[in-house]
């Protein structure tokens, strides 16, 4: 399977099969406030205008000159770390004589190196970040997840919402943001990934030169586990026809642990396949929901279960979930389910080589954990997991939170 070549913090993958070139720059800082809110403001400002491109129209013109160059920014939590990602992509120079990618690299580097942080850009960014925060609140399933994290992670970075906090966003000044951005470039770890139709020996020196304002020496801590072990429940009343239920479990394992792979497979067996235990028992056998799935918040050592149900059926659904987890704990599952989980994960790893975002996510995670692991070696480790490994892993799970958003629960 295709693999990046690593040159310090620069990770390059040449591939002619993609018709475009994608560059993702991920800057990892501390996952705590007020930094998280500031990073969300920067995510808006840095791709909106620049000191050399003071009007939005200037950016639009440059992007269109580069054949629909797209520049996106995104913030994501990685346990104790918080990632601010800038991703840009345009068609490779093979499809346009006027070298759009070459122009795009200089343009985006200039935007990041010479930002336009002033009252006007900050004010606009605050409006947009706050509007986005309100949208998260208005979506019952997203709100339930935010509240569950806040409850499970009280006092830890899990409780920090990766998209910021209104009170803090409102309080940030231009000076604070400028100072933080300068500091961030000096102290925070970055990783730059490029995939597409290019020659590494030509691109690498160019990237190193254009992004020389970033420091390759920095490190940022990311993973942790073992959150508090006290089980808590919570409920937010909302006038909706369907309640959203979130359950969270501490894995009591870190992403660096060799056993982590068994937790990953257990999560797939529990709720990521069409024949997963939750899907089969809660949806298919009893018609209690349309959607039910499990997922991992990997750098926090957490497993979550999400579903939409009738609030009156909450106890029945929770009991059924417990039964399915007990089946994994006792090894009371068809061995074929493990085999299917392994095959599906390995197949999705193979498919990931055709998908730029999946490839970057995989290798970024590896860069933050086990530097030299490839898709092939990860697939090999996946195939070696036994039912006993699953049983042992799931035996460590501790239920932390059950949170619902829905109508008032009758006594």
């Amino acid at each position: 399977m295709e693999t990046f070549q690593h040159f310090g913090r620069f990770h390059l993958l040449e591939s002619e099969k993609f018709k475009d070139i994608t560059v993702s720059l991920r800057i990892l800082g501390e996952n705590k406030e007020p930094y998280v809110s500031m990073r969300n403001l920067l995510a808006q400002i840095l791709i909106d205008r620049g000191a050399h491109y003071p009007h939005k129209r200037d950016l639009s013109v440059m992007c269109d000159v580069c054949y629909g160059l797209t520049i996106d920014s995104k913030t994501t939590a990685y346990g104790k770390a918080h990632s601010l990602e800038f991703k840009f992509k345009t068609i490779s120079d093979r499809y346009a004589a006027d070298k759009p990618f070459e122009k795009a690299v200089s343009f985006v580097a200039d935007l990041l190196r010479y930002p336009l942080i002033n009252e006007a850009t900050l004010s606009e960014a605050k409006v947009n970040v706050n509007a986005s925060l309100l949208r998260y609140q208005d979506n019952p399933s997203q709100y339930a997840m935010i509240q569950a994290c806040a409850l499970a992670g009280k006092g830890s970075s899990l409780a920090v919402f990766s998209q910021g906090k209104k009170e803090i966003v409102d309080s940030i000044t231009v000076d604070q943001l400028e100072e933080y951005y300068r500091r961030m470039l000096k102290t925070d770890r970055f990783d730059l990934f490029a995939i597409g139709d290019f020659k590494s020996q030509e691109l690498l020196p160019r990237l190193r030169s254009e992004f020389a304002f970033l420091s390759e020496a920095n490190q940022t801590q990311s993973a942790y586990s073992n959150l508090g072990l006290t089980y808590q429940t919570g409920h937010s009343e909302r006038d909706v026809d369907q309640a959203n239920l979130i359950q969270m479990y501490s894995l009591n394992a870190e992403i660096f642990d060799s056993e982590y792979i068994a937790h990953r497979l257990a999560c797939v067996m529990l709720g990521q396949l069409p024949n997963s235990l939750l899907f089969a028992e809660v949806r298919e056998a009893r018609s209690l929901c349309y959607s039910i799935y499990s997922s991992m918040i990997q750098f926090d050592g957490l497993l979550t279960i999400s579903t939409g149900i009738d609030i009156e059926k909450q106890a029945e659904v929770e009991a059924l979930i417990e039964v399915q987890i007990d089946r994994l704990k006792t090894g009371n599952v068809d061995p074929k389910l493990l085999r299917t989980a392994q095959d599906m994960l390995i197949s999705s790893l193979k498919s990931a080589t055709d998908d730029v975002s999946s490839l970057i996510n995989f290798y970024h995670q590896r860069a933050l954990t086990i530097q030299d692991e490839t898709l092939d070696s990860f697939a090999q480790r996946l195939s070696e997991v036994k039912i006993e490994d699953i049983r042992q892993a799931v035996s460590k799970w501790r239920k932390l939170v059950a949170y619902t958003v829905g109508k008032k629960v009758s006594a």
Binding site: Y67, K89, P274, S287, T340
Partner: protein, 427 residues
């Protein structure tokens, strides 16, 4: 078997029509590990009333296409279809839209013979019981509620209901809880027989594997099956007037951010599907010029908090209707109306020079749309069902002139507009 080349996009296409009428298309993707196969049937939520060969109108319960999509995953052999795909390391899924029902799988495995046979076999065999139909109603009801809890999805639904009086687009793709309850095993079987014949289906394969081998496999699979004679039913939609159903509609949800849509209904151009597509792109480009940073007023709208980054627009042109919708997060409906009218009245000559920039943008986007096998397979199948060549549609923008863009403004008639808002509930 016909082979076409598209050197501008560095793409090839192989197509064939099997003796039973099924059209098969293969887009080779050298170097790609994954394969995607799409089986698409031109039966969607808008096909709620159909006319048979004798001219008789047959009306179904709303949501029947979506219900059928759920039930096809049931097998009479006791095998769970999804489980069978998983055992072959293939991800299977399906969706129903306004115009079609689509079943597809993707896999990173080199050998796709078994999942390809499985896809053909399960879509071509409906096997349901009354009990299983009843069981599905609970699941679909939860699905409908899930979407109705999402403010954006609900606002879109209410907007269609305000703009259209009788067109089936005003009914949710999944139907209503009432219509879902009314669906029977017999109705599903009738709809299946009337719409799921191979000659009424399209199969699209996007893969790095050997085209000839996979097309032969499809041909063998189909040759081994017998299908009854088939005459397609046709969609029947009562033509509705250009006037909107409701000029104003407000509803409440348990939310904090009020959202508004301001929608226009307009007469679509008469002509071919390509003509409709070109008109859609013409309106889209006109709006992009008027409502983006290319308009000198755009920054002043942001600075004055008249819009935020949520503001946007959608355009849809079909044989039956033209529809353009603006949306924003605003407290005042009048503010959005004023802003849209201001944008539409911008002097076109101030933005016209940027049309060439947009052409470059959309050329780049077209090239990049060919990177994702899943998206490419679905888009290609859709274009076939609309009698379009997908690769030709990528050049639609080049058929548009500045004069075409100048004429767009007249489509936006305030008398044929509707404003819909979702507000918070008073506690």
């Amino acid at each position: 078997m016909i082979q076409k080349e598209y050197p501008r996009f560095n793409e090839k296409l192989i197509e064939t029509t099997l003796p039973n009428g099924m059209r098969v298309f293969f887009i080779p993707k050298p170097g790609f590990v994954s394969s995607t196969v799409v089986y698409m049937v031109p039966f969607g939520s808008l096909d709620v009333v159909q006319k048979d060969a004798q001219g008789k109108l047959i009306e179904s319960n709303a949501g029947v296409a979506h219900f059928l999509e759920h039930k096809l995953f049931e097998s009479n052999t006791g095998t769970d279809i999804m489980e069978a795909f998983s055992a072959l390391s293939a991800n299977v899924n399906a969706f129903t839209s306004f115009n079609e029902t689509c079943y597809y799988f993707s896999t990173g495995e080199a050998d796709i013979d078994a999942p390809l046979n499985l896809l053909l076999d399960f879509v071509q065999n409906l096997s349901i019981t009354e009990a299983s139909v009843e069981k599905e109603k609970g699941i679909i009801t939860q699905e409908l509620r899930m979407y109705m809890n999402m403010p954006e999805a609900r606002l879109m639904y209410e907007t269609y209901r305000a703009v259209f009086k009788s067109h089936p687009i005003r009914i949710d793709i999944g139907g209503t809880e009432k219509s879902v309850k009314a669906i029977t095993k017999e109705e599903l079987e009738d709809i299946y027989q009337a719409n799921y014949h191979p000659s009424n289906s399209v199969l699209v394969i996007v893969s790095g594997q050997d085209p000839r081998h996979l097309i032969d496999l499809v041909a063998k699979n189909q040759a081994a099956k017998e299908f009854p004679p088939f005459t397609a039913r046709k969609r029947w939609i009562e033509k509705e007037e250009l006037k909107v159903h409701k000029k104003h509609h407000t509803f409440a949800m348990d939310i904090q951010a009020k959202k508004i849509t301001y929608s226009f209904k307009f007469q679509p151009v008469e002509g071919t599907p390509m003509d409709h597509l070109v008109q859609e792109w013409t309106v889209r480009i006109f709006l992009e010029l008027m409502f983006s940073s290319y308009n000198p007023s755009y920054q002043t709208w942001l600075d004055a908090n008249r819009i935020n980054d949520y503001f946007g627009y959608e355009v849809d042109v079909t044989e039956e209707y033209g529809f353009a919708m603006f949306y924003g997060e605003k407290e005042s409906e009048q503010d959005l109306v004023d802003l849209v009218n201001e944008g539409l009245n911008t002097d076109f000559d101030t933005v016209a020079p940027y049309f060439e920039n947009l052409k470059k943008r959309y050329y780049g986007q077209s090239i990049r749309s060919l990177n994702n096998p899943d998206d490419l397979a679905v888009s290609y199948a859709r274009s076939i069902l609309q009698n379009l060549d997908y690769f030709e549609t990528l050049d639609a923008v080049n058929r548009i002139s500045l004069d075409d863009l100048r004429s767009v403004r007249q489509l936006f008639d305030r008398e044929k507009a509707s404003i819909v808002s979702v507000t918070g509930k008073t506690k």
